[in-house]
Subunit: 352 residues, 2 copies
Amino acid sequence: MDPKPPKPSRLQMADIARLANVSISTVSRALSNHPRLSEETRQRIHELARSLHYSVDAGAQMMRGKQPPTVAVAFPYHPTERQHFKDPFFLALIGAIGDALIDSGHNMLIEAVQADDFERVAKPYETRQCIGTILLGQEHYHDRINALAVRGIPFVVWGARLKDQLYCSVGSDNTLGGRQATEHLLAHGARRILFLGDPSLPEIAQRHEGWLAAQRAHGIEPEAGLTRPVPFVPQAARAEIERVLADGPAFDAVFAASDRLALAAMAALQARQRRVPQDVQVVGFDDIALSAEANPPLTTVRQDLETAGKTLVERLLAKLAGQAVEPVLLPTTLVVRGSTHGEPESGRPPPA
Amino acid sequence: MDPKPPKPSRLQMADIARLANVSISTVSRALSNHPRLSEETRQRIHELARSLHYSVDAGAQMMRGKQPPTVAVAFPYHPTERQHFKDPFFLALIGAIGDALIDSGHNMLIEAVQADDFERVAKPYETRQCIGTILLGQEHYHDRINALAVRGIPFVVWGARLKDQLYCSVGSDNTLGGRQATEHLLAHGARRILFLGDPSLPEIAQRHEGWLAAQRAHGIEPEAGLTRPVPFVPQAARAEIERVLADGPAFDAVFAASDRLALAAMAALQARQRRVPQDVQVVGFDDIALSAEANPPLTTVRQDLETAGKTLVERLLAKLAGQAVEPVLLPTTLVVRGSTHGEPESGRPPPA
DNA sequence: ATGAAAGCGCTAACAG
DNA sequence: CTGTTAGCGCTTTCAT
């Protein structure tokens, strides 16, 4: 007799086996396309499984040592600001990584990590939900990221290449970018260039370095007040521009650490009747889609996201394959548009 | 003697148990904060696990019936076009969902589904990698989506509310949006309004319906040639505008099914010396960030993404909790800017 | 070419 | 309060 009707749980291999009149092992082999198995049986079982929408349980497979086809994409998340998911550059970067992961046959597990709980970035790997992690942004966690590397967590980082790093980073050549932007401004008459961005972040620090180096190469030593540390929040940039206009040093150009900041700065300047580029030239960083359509179109330093995504994925997979992976520095390109003097590379003619 | 040095596999509960001088079950209970367990033991074991970076194996937990804290976000993916990850509206929608998922304590598993292999959307659920799925866009799969519902896959869809749907959809009130856009144009003198978008997609069909209804309410019956089916690709919009300009019907306004298309149309018009809005008024749909900064700023129908993300997540969780969930229609708002006549709601003053 | 059987790492009865 | 024990659904020897 039947002791008790077992709960109608989900279909499992045993069910398929019974229906196919074979053993469980045969089903397992059929579904994993084991070589020595009659083609006929294999097909029959595949068919059956498909028609019943049977899929092998991921948990059970993992217990048997199988790796999930999943890569985690993690980023430090600030619950109060919540900027990340609103930031066009960040979203585009995620998109680029997503594209690359699709091509390599992986799923993407998005993971927001609270700043005060940074160690969590390793969780998906430690619990074996993913095979490795792509970390977006170093922020202030250089040491803790190094610690992850020491522990053998497989990951790569989108960010700056730093001196004593024990991990593989992929990122734009920020110093170069800073230099390109600044040299362009200098070449077109700027002499007092405001720097807008938070140099306590490594990538920004490097852009700032480029800014400084380019000026020194021209015999200019910018006064301290021209460096304006602001977080990646548009309002902060607006406020800072107001402040400088009110009682800061005079300036004839702005180099902002991101397009979003540059756009905000431009708006703040225009609201105060400063013409861009006639009174103040503005250069951004990133080249987000919005920038080409701004008014005036924004001159900026482009980061090549498609390459970034591909490279991040490729490095992570290389590392997983046991290779030693070196940091990568991606070249940046200056895109000249209407917010500075000089010849725009293309685009619609200026309004009559 | 030791038969063979077992491979230095990852740490597991037994190791912690041994080090803590307790049984495995005690460790298990400690880590899952089981109530009846001495506080001291609990803490000691937690400490130990933390210091050794031990995490419970997800696969083993799943085998014991635990659900992963993961929601899949799936979308139909066209390998040739690869538009999705470049589309600002789509990325912003993913961002909004990501935000909502964070708030509910879930991870987000991004899954691109090849059109010809649509059944795969259910895979992460069938393999128990996720507890449910948010499907972005119905496209032409209405019947297959209904089939998923019949099979009991837990999911919600971002898209149109359709007549015979067996699933919960969340989406903007596209018909309303279409009407708002069209009425605005009619109120400001437009009489021959081009519709740009592919009405074979359900959402677009509804926007088209609104477009039609508003005109009929004014006693206008638009001729067939004014409906221009184009896919969601900027170049297609440009080309279509060229075509209509060359030998299509005359028109004094454009209602595009997305901002991206509208922006492309605007550029095409301007390239042909048509002034916006003086010669041709243009209205878009979505209100992506770019639109406010376009030249002229784009009048558009806003979709409320934050609410969209929250609602999608909330409905999915409700459905998982066993509730019957009704489709949701989110109101759209017309945002009047410079690409049409009428008073802009705000923004910088028009150029002198 | 197929089946039987032994676990994978953990949780949850069921004992004490 | 803690330990013992029996599986969860599958893969993989080892037999046949």
